[in-house]
Symmetry: C2
Subunit: 415 residues, 2 copies
Amino acid sequence: MAPVYEATVSAPVNIAVIKYWGKRDPTLILPTNSSLSVTLSQDHLSTRTTVRASPDFGGDRLWLNGAEEDVGASRRLANAIATARGLRAALEDQAGGGAVPLSQWPVHVCSENNFPTAAGLASSASGYAALVSALAALYELPQSASELSRVARVGSGSACRSMLGGFVAWHAGVAADGSDSLAEQVAARQHWPEMQALVLVVSDQKKAVSSTAGMQTTVETSALFAERVRTVVPARMAAMQRAIAERDFAAFAEITMKDSNQFHAVCLDTYPPISYMNDTSRAIAGLVHAFNAAVGRVAAAYTYDAGPNAVIYALEPDMRALVELLAYCFPRPADTAPEAFYPDPFGLFESPASVGHAVALPAVAALAEATGRFPAGSVRRIIHTTVGDGPRVLSPAQSLLDSAGLPKARRDHHH
Amino acid sequence: MAPVYEATVSAPVNIAVIKYWGKRDPTLILPTNSSLSVTLSQDHLSTRTTVRASPDFGGDRLWLNGAEEDVGASRRLANAIATARGLRAALEDQAGGGAVPLSQWPVHVCSENNFPTAAGLASSASGYAALVSALAALYELPQSASELSRVARVGSGSACRSMLGGFVAWHAGVAADGSDSLAEQVAARQHWPEMQALVLVVSDQKKAVSSTAGMQTTVETSALFAERVRTVVPARMAAMQRAIAERDFAAFAEITMKDSNQFHAVCLDTYPPISYMNDTSRAIAGLVHAFNAAVGRVAAAYTYDAGPNAVIYALEPDMRALVELLAYCFPRPADTAPEAFYPDPFGLFESPASVGHAVALPAVAALAEATGRFPAGSVRRIIHTTVGDGPRVLSPAQSLLDSAGLPKARRDHHH
């Protein structure tokens, strides 16, 4: 029986604290400004991808969360696969005839997220990071994760930051070919083990403007965007790296909130205006400022991407009070079980059912009382996670493909 | 019987199309940038004020909408009255003993808006314009409305623009004493008679940040605000005056929408962020862009001040289709009579009850269908008005004070 050439990996989601918004080259996906993100734990949010190469396959095929996609339809996907193949082909040339000609064989790609798409979390970052990491493992590419981040970048800009764990900077670079536009780790997750994150999945009616279309409209029409790129972001990149190096949460939090607000400000300054946050998003931001006032220090920071969901960073000792407040003010939807609304992965509560019923800290309890409760289901679920590592190569037993190279019957591994 | 020294005036509301936000001198109320507004008709939105001076009064007293206010409590009010008195005192000096010493007598001030405070419309502009105009009439001051706008300005910045009708520019000025920070008419209302406005009163829960506090926080914390002041507003002031001179509605509308969006963008870029628009406000803005797309030209423009209410400018021929669309998508609240929700002052509809039931223009009807209906009462009322004139001196018969100089029993003249 012929050997199987296959690799299975998982890759993380990342949430920017200095936002990427605007391309200077839409094909190579070169950004107008550098950005910085926190990689989240793959225990709670990740994409698993299996890639297999075989001379017997009729052509490249891709399955996403169980449904087959048209590989030819996505130029970004084709670019990412072609770039990885090019790196493999170079290896094969160096090896003369000594290497298996994997670069010439079609691939089957099967990819699944461990979080429901319904959560409205962007999966393109973890998805392209998983694809590129799987191809790199399959092709035994010698490049570092940082070098490979260039390949993930051509699939989806923010995917380059998911190629590394911990705290990650995406340097905008200046080269026309994008060779210096790549991700580098600023600090490993072990550097700041207390850092944790909450993802609040916010209900929303309206269809959001796609970030790909939205960011270019901002570049073209916002009168304030150039100032953000020229002076604001460079200063914040430096200040944020300092805050992380010194584990200065107050500084980290203030820059995070200010940059999220400014990203949404330039969206609003776009013509026609773009708005991703809704009234629930804004209420959460207001509650975070009120929480900080109640505890007398900057203990939590919100950030919002191109949608209404909130991500809140806080240190482990402050998480219980924060979750108590949020779950009180944003009650669980009637149709959702307590453990689905807030799975409590770190065992903060006696029982899932007790979440949202009491706020222990007096100052925060007074705030909860004063704020009152929003309609149940305004926040659909709260995902509590930590800072995580980069892409992981998994064992063949975790392959998503069967012996024929087709997707296995899916066992749901959602949380 | 001794002669009565009294004057009664009415003054208009104005809605900025280039926004005033930020003071360079909070005491004299000198702005960081020039602004430009449209004065709205006093038939629908105005403040009426009667001022009487008498040596028999024990001291200055003020009644606002029937309730007495503490004159000493407001420095701005004291400043405005003192400044007007100073101008009168100068006159009396010139006249030697020949003038009645009104500047030395206490005044009673009675002021009423013809629109419910519940409408959430800022009444400080029309209020201070009415107060200063009434004092100017009582004191027989020779200064022009533009010169008197400096006096209104020390009461409330935007009040200086309500001292003139039509299209009004408030020049920021550069002098430290504020002598060159005053309002001037850019064009009379007769210059562009087709221009009309809709005020959509939007329901809102949360208490907004006061504009006085909010604008200074923006000046101090927004990283983008200085760019708006330095480069954006000066260019827009020139372009807006050109658009008005040429009656170029498309240009007028685009600048109006962009400047409203940028004002709210710098509010969001403030730390902590300030947001005045809510989901209903944003839905209205989106609907205006969709309306323009449906009719194939820029036929309507929204603008928002420091609250969720929308003001929409459009030319008379487009108003019916616009009201049909808005009243369809934002149905009348159950507890409001049709004529209170949309009084239809220009007789666009067969009957008040027919408003919101049909959209005639096919492209707009398709848009209404596609948009669907928001919860009834999201918009509480629609005020339809035109461009208006400046403060009017009214007859003694319209005095708000009785023979004793106290407020008459109020006959409600709200619409």
